[in-house]
């Protein structure tokens, strides 16, 4: 039983398909109207069938008014950290504080290399991401005087200017699975953002992972509650009868999600599938009941 007590957030995990760009934007608009908290987009800059995720988020931010938006997760090797930080802060200002930042060390190295990016080993990726998070936070920190300096193993900056400052305290959520990356998440990030289907061992291994994040947080002088636990769920559907996790009737969804909150510590749920009807039901029927049930149980 691990519940970190975070407020609950509900949202979607959208495929940025270039085949029907309008439909992708409409998914964000639907999430906004339906009252979801978050709409997030995969980021695979080397995938020609996809839209550029940052451009899509900037465009969708203008088409929506309440929902928060984020990359899920940005591919660090092709999103240079200072550039990304400035873009995120700019859009956060333009959208009145609705942008969050999801980031990962990168996968699909052939694609990354084909785009001109740098291939890193898993261990190098951890260090590069740690340096990148430092740079991002420095860019956003305009209260410290002087430029940004870092003579890192993977990034070098010598006196870059700070700013712009985001409109709100933008959290940094890290997509991570392997021990070293999980430790980095605990020590430096504001959130852990995995996709359920990619967690080796599935839900059963989540308590162990949480423990690892918690330990790393404590070792860094932080509290486990500083790291929000988010979860992408790709395979979801409303069904008349119960089939599997989040594949069943509304009541089952509510129970599944409350269980994920109270027993596994998750507090943010991002559903895939790109189906506006499912997103609307998620917002209207599932989210309020989960909130209610969790409030009662907590």
């Amino acid at each position: 039983m691990t519940d970190y007590g975070h407020d609950l957030l509900f949202g979607t995990f959208v495929t940025p398909s270039a085949q029907s760009p309008q439909k992708v934007v409409d998914l964000a608009v639907t999430a906004d109207r339906a009252g979801l908290d978050l709409v997030t987009f995969q980021d695979h800059p080397y995938q020609p069938a996809f839209l550029d995720t940052w451009t899509l988020i900037s465009y969708a931010a203008a088409r929506t008014s309440r929902v928060h938006l984020a990359g899920n997760v940005h591919s660090l090797p092709l999103r240079p950290p200072a550039m990304l930080a400035r873009a995120v802060a700019s859009l956060d200002r333009l959208s009145d504080g609705r942008i969050e930042l999801g980031i990962g060390a990168g996968a699909f190295w052939d694609g990354i290399e084909a785009m001109g990016g740098r291939r890193l080993t898993a261990a190098q990726g951890v260090t590069a991401l740690r340096e990148a998070i430092g740079i991002i936070r420095e860019v956003w920190d305009v209260s410290t005087r002087g430029g940004i300096h870092l003579d890192g193993e993977f990034y070098q900056v010598d006196g870059a200017k700070r700013g712009p400052e985001p409109a709100h305290d933008v959290p940094i959520w890290v997509g991570s699975y392997k021990p070293k990356m999980l430790e980095l998440t605990g020590a430096y990030a504001d959130g852990w953002l995995p996709t359920l289907e990619y967690i080796e061992g599935g839900l059963d291994s989540v308590p162990g992972i949480n423990g690892r994040i918690d330990e790393a947080a404590a070792a860094a002088g932080r509290s486990p509650g500083d790291v929000r636990r988010l979860l992408n769920l790709m395979n979801v559907s409303f069904q008349p009868t119960s089939r599997a996790l989040l594949n069943g009737p509304v009541d089952q969804w509510v129970e599944d999600l409350a269980g994920l909150v109270l027993e596994y510590g998750f507090s943010t749920f991002l559903i895939g599938g790109d189906d506006p009807a499912v997103a609307e039901r998620f917002a209207a029927e599932v989210a309020p009941q989960v909130r209610e049930l969790v409030a009662r149980e907590r």
Binding site: P21, W54, A62, L78, M83, A87, L94, G116, F154, Q156
Partner: protein
């Protein structure tokens, strides 16, 4: 003079005000909004403004992406920036202008004289504005001083900003201006690429009549410094029917299929029809015309090159049923060619048409085809060398009614997967089974589909191209060769080629039969005694060429449609000496200045050297 007027937004404005002013400018009919984002990221700000508006062009000065440096956390990647640009065009329509020399600045609260002075540069004039009242005032000024708007399709400043140097866009012939597509147009993404190739041409002209083709050729003639592609169905492999920065003449719109005479089964077909459409149109008459193995391919490219397909062993190549063409020559003349009229041209069009002109109509005499057996078999074979050899024997010995093609790729640890695609021209199930049985014994059968079908059903397996056009990426790398027989030495070397792992697609097309009945000198397709056509596709040129050199010694010529290499040696492989000599004479007569050069170019200057 035409005045185009817009606003520049002050970076100090609150974002909500910026969006409101941009929307106001759009509603009031202004021509452009320029943002000066101050501290904020320019790309993000412009994209956000595009999302806040619907149709007005947005300008932002954007520094070109510098050289990427993975150690520099500020340095972006040009490849990612290029994709971002494409995405933005898809999302917002091509409305972004990033070159600050595409607009000119006038002072705030301008007098008519200020405007006139600024407008002398013939660029949109932008004026600082920070309230809705200021925007409205500019809109009134615009109405008072607008002047006549040009006729013809009006392209906004953002579309014009994407024009490429070296193309006289404003001189596109009137007959083509309405349908021409340039990089900033919304339709551009549907025409820039082909089935296998990504491209960014500077201008696509889309003639729909022979005189319009002549106009397009005259325009192309004035742009000799640029590549020129001729496009029909967009399935070119050897033919560069798209390019980067050049012109494309796309006759895909000329796609009518007309029955001229039922007694002789004479049909007239536009170059833009696909073979799937042709098969569907002929089917109600009980007729067919063999094409290739894929119904998506266009008539224009295939019927000027050969046409090796599922009915070739029984009925010959597609070009063997051609009885006349209408074409537009390099000098703009519109001619007909058949056995009596322009017989030389008619000879050359059947195999080397791409060098001689643009065919605007093909007339064929087609044949009757009843139901056929259509087969797709997937087999796993432990030894690809042996399988190739046995396939070669079976395919060559099969009666003419049976044509089977083989496709395989990189061998896997458990063996090679081979796919056999075949057609038996017989409505009798027993005959069909009898013909296919030997092929099914080539290995372990993992999947099979054998159906009694019409030829149109076979062609129908291809996807429709649809209004969205083709979306090829990058460049295909393909090699083509012909062999007079499948010897054990060839099988050995082909197996070796496959084992390099550098060939992901390897195909044997069975020829022979009726193809060989035609005299090699009768058409410009001279390799009549070939038993198989071989195609290999790989990820990169060098690795593919190295692998290909393993089979090179066995080859006797090539079929040009599957070869992407461009060199005089390959042209000589496609056309044996006597054919080439005659083609050079024709090139000299019909296209002496080499306007048509996108596909196995017979370049007189190069060959004289």
């Amino acid at each position: 003079m035409t005045l185009e007027l817009g606003v520049v937004l002050d970076p100090a404005l609150p974002p909500a005000t910026m969006a409101a002013l941009a929307q106001r400018a759009e509603e009031a009919g202004l021509d452009m909004v320029v943002t000066n984002p101050g501290d904020l990221d320019p790309w993000t700000t412009a994209t956000w403004l595009l999302g806040s508006t619907k149709s007005i062009p947005i300008g932002v000065a954007l520094a070109p992406v510098a050289t990427p440096d993975p150690r520099d956390p500020e340095a972006g990647y040009p490849s990612v920036a290029g994709r971002a640009r494409d995405s933005l065009d898809l999302l917002a329509g091509a409305r972004l202008i990033t070159d600050p020399s595409a607009w000119t600045l006038a002072p705030a609260d301008p007098s008519p004289a200020d405007l006139e002075r600024a407008a002398a540069a013939n660029l949109p004039v932008v004026v600082p504005a920070s309230t809705e009242a200021e925007v409205d005032r500019l809109a009134r000024l615009l109405i008072e001083h607008r002047g006549p708007r040009p006729t013809g399709p009006r392209r906004t400043s953002s579309v014009r900003a994407k024009r490429l140097p070296g193309i006289a866009y404003d001189e596109v012939p009137a007959s083509l201006a309405e349908t021409a597509v340039e990089p900033g147009d919304p339709a551009y993404r549907t025409v820039r690429s082909t089935y296998l190739r990504g491209g960014r041409p500077g201008l696509v002209l889309r003639p729909t009549t022979p005189p319009q083709v002549a106009d397009a050729l005259a325009f192309a003639d004035r742009h000799r410094h640029l590549p020129l592609g001729i496009r029909s169905g967009g399935h070119g492999v050897s033919g560069r029917s798209t390019n980067n920065g050049g012109l494309v003449i796309d006759v895909g719109g000329m796609n009518t299929i007309e029955v001229l005479d039922t007694a002789t089964r004479r049909v007239r077909i536009g170059p833009g029809a696909t073979w799937k459409q042709v098969a569907a149109a002929l089917d109600p008459y009980g007729w067919a015309l063999g094409s290739g193995d894929y119904g998506g391919v266009g008539v224009g490219g295939l019927a000027t090159a050969g046409g090796i397909g599922y009915l070739s062993r029984k009925h010959g190549l597609t070009i063997d049923h051609l009885v006349a063409v209408e074409m537009v020559l390099a000098d703009g003349s519109i001619v007909r060619a058949d056995r009596e009229e322009n017989p030389d041209l008619f000879w050359g069009v059947r195999g080397a048409g791409a060098n001689l002109g643009v065919v605007t109509a093909f007339e064929f005499e087609v044949y009757e085809v009843a139901e056929v057996g259509s087969a797709q078999l997937t087999l796993v074979v432990p030894d690809i060398e042996e399988a190739l050899l046995r396939f070669g024997e079976m395919a060559a010995e099969a009666p003419r009614d049976t044509t089977v093609f083989l496709v395989t790729g990189r061998p896997r640890p458990e063996g090679s997967v081979i796919q056999l695609y075949g057609l038996v021209d017989s409505p009798d199930p027993e005959v069909i089974v009898e013909r296919l049985t030997p092929f099914a014994s080539l290995g372990a059968l993992v999947q099979q589909q054998v159906i009694l079908a019409h030829y149109t059903d076979v062609m129908n397996q291809a996807h429709d191209i649809g209004p969205d056009g083709h979306h090829g990426h990058g460049e295909p790398h393909a090699r083509s060769g012909l062999i007079p027989g499948l010897t054990s030495e060839f099988a050995r070397d082909a197996a070796q080629l496959l084992r390099t792992g550098d060939v992901y697609f390897f195909q044997l097309r069975t020829m022979g039969g009726a193809i060989a009945d035609v005299d090699p000198t009768a058409t410009a397709f001279a390799h009549r005694n070939a038993a198989f056509q071989i195609t290999a596709m790989g990820g990169g040129t060098e690795a593919l060429d190295t692998a290909w050199s393993l089979v090179q010694p066995h080859l006797e010529g090539l079929y040009l449609s599957f070869e992407t290499t461009r060199s005089p040696e390959r042209v000589a492989d496609a056309f044996p000496p006597a054919t080439l000599t005659r083609l050079r004479e024709l090139k000299q007569r019909f296209d002496p200045t080499n306007l048509f050069r996108d596909n196995f170019n017979i370049d007189l200057s190069e060959m004289n050297r």
